[in-house]
């Protein structure tokens, strides 16, 4: 073949295949970005960080008016409705508040949130690392990238009842945590350190949500009682410190004495800080009652 023909054929093929890939991605639209996402139920199978980032642009604002913002210990809480608000769980396993801020900022321009549950947890404020290039993510990625293809293939297999791995996030953002029972997992010494940048991000996030009309409630997740007892002064000191520096809002502390029975039951936990499905269900039910009460009482 001549060089001229070779060039034309090569460029035409690249453009055609890239276009075809983009067309498929737009048609499948696993993140609800390219067509109206209202009423859709989008499940994520992999890359939950990226997915929640993109889902927050249109899918979350179109279908939810409440958020849970937290790390892995709140990721498997399933609270579909609190005080009439439909809740999307934006919790990111291993996530810092810096990452949460990036994700939630996607959801703010088009969303109206009545209620936001902010989890007060040391890993949220101990660093401001950004994983998986979350801060550089662009919409064009959804036209063909590893995370889109992976989710599309997993979704197609799921539709054909071939389920070789768990979903990473249900349509309401709830994440299924791996079940590896480890109730003697110690708390590392640097667990309670507070990163000033992360704390600033936390404050900005709360103020930004509040300025858009959201009621904020802080929730402190329950820790397995034997571990909590060992670290109680450190936990209390951490809570005291961050509450001094964060905007005031009602707080629900699930490490209070009234929940000792719950925290002492090993069946409620996967490990010392992550709740097993049974424990997560109990906490979710509790929140449905406690959050409206806290908002009403202002404490």
């Amino acid at each position: 073949m001549t060089s001229r023909r070779w060039i034309l054929l090569t460029f035409a093929t690249i453009i055609a295949l890239a276009g075809m890939s983009a067309a498929i991605c737009v048609a499948v639209d696993p993140y609800g970005l390219w067509r109206d996402p209202a009423g859709r139920k989008l499940t994520v199978y992999d890359f939950e960080r990226k997915a929640k980032f993109f889902l927050s642009r249109r899918y979350v604002p179109a279908n939810f008016d409440g958020l849970i913002i937290g790390p892995s210990c709140s990721a498997n809480w399933n609270v579909p409705l609190i005080a009439g608000a439909r809740i999307y769980n934006e919790s990111l396993p291993g996530g810092s508040v810096a990452e949460e801020q990036i994700v939630v900022n996607q959801a703010l321009p088009k969303g109206h949130y009545r209620l936001v549950v902010m989890i007060l947890w040391p890993t949220m404020t101990s660093h401001h690392d950004i994983n998986e290039g979350l801060d550089k993510s662009e919409k064009v990625e959804t036209l063909g990238s590893f995370h889109v293809y992976d989710n599309e293939v997993a979704s197609a297999l799921h539709a054909w009842h071939i389920r070789f791995h768990k979903s990473d996030a249900a349509p309401d953002g709830q994440v299924e945590l791996p079940y590896r029972k480890r109730l003697s997992l110690p708390i590392p010494p640097d667990f309670f350190q507070v990163d000033p940048v992360a704390l600033e991000d936390f404050r900005d996030l709360v103020q930004s949500l509040r300025s858009r009309g959201a009621s904020i409630v802080y929730v402190v997740p329950p820790i397995y009682e034997p571990i909590y007892r060992l670290n109680q002064p450190a936990f209390e000191n951490y809570l005291y410190t961050v509450r001094q520096l964060l905007p005031s809002a009602p707080i629900i502390d699930l490490n209070g004495s009234e929940y000792t029975g719950f925290r002492s039951d090993p069946d409620n936990y996967i490990d010392t800080v992550h709740l097993a499905p049974q424990g997560a269900a109990t906490v979710s039910a509790l929140l449905q009652k406690l959050v409206p009460d806290a908002i009403a009482s202002g404490n």
Partner: protein, 475 residues
């Protein structure tokens, strides 16, 4: 703007290509060259607009010195050359080395005299060397001083201004008349450029970035590496460097080819070398050529007699300076000294006609030496390099692969990275170099399928937001 971005691939390069070809039809003399000079200015300014002043200032000063050299007689020619060299080295030192030198002279001096830290202009190490070569070549009357327009186009040419290949003026300037001619590059050249560009792109975004993930993990966990892992991670960094820099060079050469300019090749399958001398004939070829012509040879000539000993000293000095050229850190000095020592021993071995090593043994020793030198290159300081070095030689744990399991993370990206690393290793071991492949390029069906596949795979990696900037941008 990096070569491995959609902005460059889909916008900048096509626009410059089209503009240059349209410019050929304009009744304006040298219109394509004007286009390229403008494009180069935009390209350079993209990173930090204020730094264009340094580049343009350096161009104007060197052009003027070259004119003075060209018009003067001895001994003034030599004085002008010396002034030019001092100015260029001073310019480089001001931005890169002043505080390094100050921090290494007696304690009290360092604490009392500290120059402000300047953010050094991108590509300063490269365009300064280019202009030193230009001045020396003018002095030696290998080429006449060029016009300011030609000199500015030559120095600021966007494919190589940031990270090379380091090009000599006489090789580039004589191509300008054809650049400004009525006919653009042939379809054969454009097809070859397309092929080479996709090879470079895949080297960078698929192979280099996958090895970078492994190397970053290894160098971030030096404290708990086994000897086996330490060698694997050192090799991963060597391969990252190779794919990163040779990928960049391929894209630079291809970008220039699209405009009808041939720039020199920079790599020729260095990891197939069976001696350290051969390695440097294949690795960063344009820097090797600079070191040989402009540092090693004058040094050797400055000795009264050329002997094995003086040659070894000249080699050691030249390579140590080449190491330091990479940056103001003792780790780079040691990197250069290791290579200098390796080259000197290799020269001695050859001159004394000592028994030839079998090729596999030669390859293994060369690869090991390169890996060890790269440990210093990659480490942030000598302490970390020393710790890594102790790990390489089995202290305290010779075997163990826990870190190799963890280096690629978990989930689907584990498979993507592992596959990319495997493919990269195979590419280094079995394939011809991209330069050879491009030289032997024919517009066949297999090359068509390969090019389309490479481009699509590279785009997939690029669009997945896993691409990283080029390593040599830091120098």
């Amino acid at each position: 703007m990096n070569f491995n971005t959609f902005n460059y691939i889909l916008l900048f390069l096509p626009i410059v290509f089209i503009a240059c070809n349209l410019a050929r039809r304009l009744p304006v003399p040298k219109a394509p060259q004007i286009c390229i000079l403008l494009a180069s200015t935009v390209f350079y300014s993209w990173f930090k607009p204020s730094h264009i002043a340094y580049l343009l200032g350096s161009i104007v000063v060197n052009w003027q010195i070259a004119r003075l050299i060209g018009n003067a007689a001895q001994p003034w020619r030599k004085h002008y050359l010396k002034a030019g060299l001092v100015l260029n080295l001073g310019f480089l030192c001001t931005f890169k080395y002043v505080n390094f030198f100050l921090s290494n002279i007696p304690y009290s001096v360092h604490h009392h005299f500290r120059a402000p830290e300047f953010a050094f202009p991108l590509g300063i190490s490269f365009f300064t060397l280019t202009q030193i070569m230009y001045l020396v070549d003018c002095y030696e009357e290998l080429l006449p001083p060029s016009s300011l327009f030609d000199h500015a186009t030559f120095v600021s040419f966007f494919p190589y201004v940031i990270s090379g290949p380091i090009s000599r003026a006489k090789r580039i300037l004589h191509q300008f008349p054809s650049l400004n001619g009525d006919v653009g590059p042939s379809a054969d050249t454009l097809a070859r450029a397309t092929y080479l560009f996709t090879l470079g792109l895949i080297k960078k975004v698929v192979f280099a970035d996958a090895f970078s993930k492994a190397a970053d993990y290894g160098f971030g966990n030096v404290g708990n590496l086994s000897a086996f892992e330490a060698w694997c991670f050192a090799s991963a960094f060597a391969l990252q460097m190779y794919f990163d820099f040779s990928g960049y060079s391929d894209m630079a050469i291809a970008s220039a080819l699209f405009l009808g300019i041939e720039v020199p090749r920079n790599f020729d399958g260095p990891f197939r070398a069976t001696s350290i001398i051969e390695f440097w004939k294949r690795w960063h070829i344009t820097l090797t050529s600079f070191i040989t012509t402009y540092i090693y040879t004058p040094l050797l000539q400055s000795f009264r007699r050329a002997t094995l000993a003086t040659s070894a000293v000249a080699t050691l000095i030249a390579m140590t300076l080449a190491g330091l050229w990479h940056g103001p850190n003792w780790t780079f000095v040691v990197f250069g000294a290791i290579h200098g020592t390796g080259l000197a021993v290799n020269q001695y071995w050859r001159k004394k006609k000592m028994p030839d090593m079998s090729k596999p043994v030669g390859w293994l020793l060369t690869f090991a030496l390169v890996d060890i030198a790269f440990v210093f290159f990659r480490s942030p300081n000598l302490q970390t390099a020393g710790l890594f070095f102790s790990r390489l030689f089995g202290w305290p744990q010779p075997l163990g692969i826990d870190n190799l399991h963890k280096m690629n993370g978990v989930g689907p990206m584990f498979a993507v990275l592992a596959l990319s690393q495997f493919a990269g290793t195979v590419a280094v071991a079995c394939r011809k170099s991209s330069d050879q492949l491009a030289r032997e390029f024919k517009p066949t069906w297999s090359n068509y399928a390969a090019t389309a596949a490479y481009a699509l795979i590279a785009f997939l990696y690029l669009n997945s937001n896993v691409a990283r900037p080029f390593l040599y941008f830091a120098f």
